[in-house]
């Protein structure tokens, strides 16, 4: 009997190099995104797809702050709300073009995150968690009570979708069409993912991880911990701001209740269930926790209990989330396959 390993090796190594290549996964993700609205043609599921894309942005933004920079931020709902309200008010009150308003929304929520972080940089752990929660409460109350500006609980209505894209030589792309709006939001989510992935792999990512693991040691190596923590916070909060801008133009109405502190917990749940400290985990966490309650809609009010149960069980039994579960399953499959292989050769 010839040794099967020699014959198989080139194939498996090629398969491995494809599977570990970022470009392969990027192309695959782009293909999946472009196919999704063709598979889900009804407006109900297309709406859910857009919500998924927005939640993916929120989750990876928060994961960058918690999972990579190690700062428990319970104020993500505030940055989400700031992005949504700033861009919407600029569009509806001042008639600013969408993309400029979008830029302002992202910038302002980033600045808000930076200020909160500059303030909270001396605080660690629980203190930062409560300070950021307090910031979220204040932001929510301002949105609710500054009625002359935000119309409070009555909300802002008839927010236009992003303006149609007119590229020379191409048909006009209208974003009142849900499929096109999904391409826009999912494309943005993918772009943010790729940029964060680059950032996390760069020396900056390693610096942040070093700070997360042991701040004192990192500082002793000459790392300016405060600067990098503020940086991570600003990046993560401006991503939430971008998600807020898309949310407003997609839903068309804005009420403060969408940005109550429970929204922060929902986003946190997505990060935890997916796998904190990896970028791909929160993506799947966000998708799962957006789609699963929709599938469970028949059970009525019980559907949101899923969030709570999932977070609790994951923290207790699988703190690495879906990523850890996937790795364990893959390792088990590999062991079984290898076991079967050695049995066959002997």
């Amino acid at each position: 009997m010839s040794n099967p390993e020699i014959a198989e090796q080139p194939i498996t190594s090629m398969a491995n190099s494809i599977l570990t290549s970022r470009r392969f996964w990027l192309i695959l993700a782009a293909i999946v995104i472009s196919l999704l609205p063709m598979i889900f043609t009804d407006s109900y599921w297309r709406t859910n797809l857009i919500v998924c894309a927005i939640n993916v942005m929120l989750a990876i933004g928060l994961d960058f702050i918690i999972g990579y920079a190690g700062q428990l931020n319970l104020g993500q709902s505030a940055f989400y709300g700031i992005g949504a309200y700033v861009s919407t008010l600029l569009i509806t009150k001042l008639g600013v073009p969408f993309w400029i308003a979008f830029g302002c929304g992202v910038l302002l929520s980033g600045i808000a995150g930076m200020l909160l972080s500059l303030f909270g940089v001396r605080l660690r752990g629980h203190y930062l968690a409560i300070a950021s929660l307090g910031f979220a409460v204040i932001t929510y109350q301002i949105l609710l009570n500054w009625i002359s500006l935000t119309q409070g609980p009555l909300g802002i209505y008839a927010i236009p979708p992003p303006p149609a894209l007119r590229l020379a030589g191409l048909p006009i792309i209208e974003f009142s069409n849900l499929a096109n709006l999904f391409y826009l939001t999912a494309g943005f989510a993918l772009l943010i993912y790729v940029l964060l992935d680059q950032l996390v792999r760069s020396p900056i990512g390693e610096t942040l991880t070093a700070i997360r693991e042991d701040e004192v040691s990192a500082a002793s190596l000459g790392i300016n911990c405060q600067k990098w923590k503020v940086f991570a916070f600003a990046i993560g909060s401006s991503i939430a701001g971008a998600a807020g801008c898309f949310y407003a133009s997609f839903v068309g109405t804005l009420v403060p209740d969408a940005f109550f502190i429970t929204e922060s917990f929902t986003i946190l749940a997505m990060v935890i269930v997916g796998g904190m400290g990896t970028l791909i985990g929160p993506v799947f966490g966000a998708i799962l926790l957006t789609v699963l309650p929709e599938l469970l809609r028949g059970i009525g009010d019980l559907r949101l209990i899923v969030y709570g149960v999932a977070v609790t069980l994951v923290v207790l039994f699988m703190p690495g989330g879906m990523v850890q579960a996937a790795r364990l399953t893959a390792a088990r499959v590999r062991r079984v396959v290898r076991g079967a292989g050695t049995e066959a050769t002997t």
Partner: protein, 293 residues
């Protein structure tokens, strides 16, 4: 003018003493475990609902329902410690238990939403309608009851911590868990006891707050965010600071309602919290513990 000041002062102290009950639980747990129980809010809510159903569905007396809420709260505290904090204690992460209890909180709130519905319950007690008048200020018998029950409870807790063996053991564990263990104190038992006491206080706070609150499954959240502010303003793990800060927040609440706008209460309280963190992160009364600052 003076009457208004006095009247709102009394209202503030009534609400404030209830916040103290809730915040003391958080502070006790933090003192022993350096952990935050986010589901503390829902123990308050469940305490309120337990008292409501005991009085309104079974026709029990309101005073007895306070005891029921206390037991319900204590039982929940025991359960949360056994299910969440005890298994996670050895992981050594300061944030995992907090995140797990956020999960418990989402779960409990939505379970209550499924059972009780989103419409606020009207919690009437026989004491809400009787009004006592002294000079030109008014207060209901309910607020007198709240003051009596909460001061007695806080006083008993204080005496328990200061004078009994268990109270001393508890303080020993919060100062240094390992050394206390070496001295023959069982830290697991005392941590469990702390959870039961802290959560019983929260449940009782719920029964007393029920008639004051807009009683929905999410009622606890508005109380707990103030309780967080109180424990930080007062200094985490510090009992005296928590009492002072709780009354302070109650007064801020009633004076803001009177002179500014009720919508601004949370903004004022949390602005004070952020100011406190910026100026004096150890709280009103400085603690020796500084590892989180």
């Amino acid at each position: 003018m003076l009457t208004v000041l006095l009247q709102q002062g009394i209202n503030g102290i009534v609400v404030g003493s209830l916040y103290v009950l809730v915040a003391l639980g958080l502070t006790l747990i933090y003192g022993v475990l350096v952990q935050i129980n986010f589901a503390h809010a829902d123990i308050v809510t469940l305490g309120a609902f337990a008292a409501y159903f005991f009085t309104h569905a079974f026709g029990g007396s309101y005073l007895a329902s306070i005891g029921i809420a206390l037991v319900v709260g204590g039982a929940l505290g025991w359960l949360i410690n056994a299910a969440i904090f005890a298994p996670l204690r050895d992981r050594g992460s300061e944030l995992l238990p907090l995140i797990a209890t956020i999960g418990v909180s989402i779960m409990l709130q939505n379970a209550m939403l499924a059972w009780f519905g989103p419409i606020p319950y009207a919690f009437d007690t026989p004491y809400s309608e009787h009004v006592i008048r002294i000079g030109s200020t008014f207060f209901t018998v309910q607020s007198v009851l709240i003051i009596i029950v909460s001061t007695t409870t806080i006083g008993l807790l204080y005496a328990f911590m200061k004078f009994t063996f268990l109270g001393k053991a508890l303080r020993a564990v919060s100062q240094d868990r390992e050394t206390a263990g070496l001295m023959g104190i069982n830290p697991n038992y005392l941590i469990m006891l702390t959870f039961v006491i802290a959560s019983a206080l929260a449940g009782m706070g719920g029964a007393l707050l029920g008639p004051v609150l807009v009683m929905t499954p999410f009622a606890g959240t508005s109380v707990i965010v103030k309780a967080f502010a109180i424990v930080i303003i007062g200094g985490f793990g510090n009992v005296e600071g928590t009492i002072i800060a709780g009354l302070l927040v109650g007064l801020i609440e009633s004076y803001t309602t009177q002179f500014l706008d009720p919508g601004l209460i949370d903004i004022v309280v949390f602005a004070l919290l952020l100011l406190m963190l910026a100026v004096r992160p150890t709280g009103l009364i400085a603690e020796k513990r500084e590892e989180n600052v």
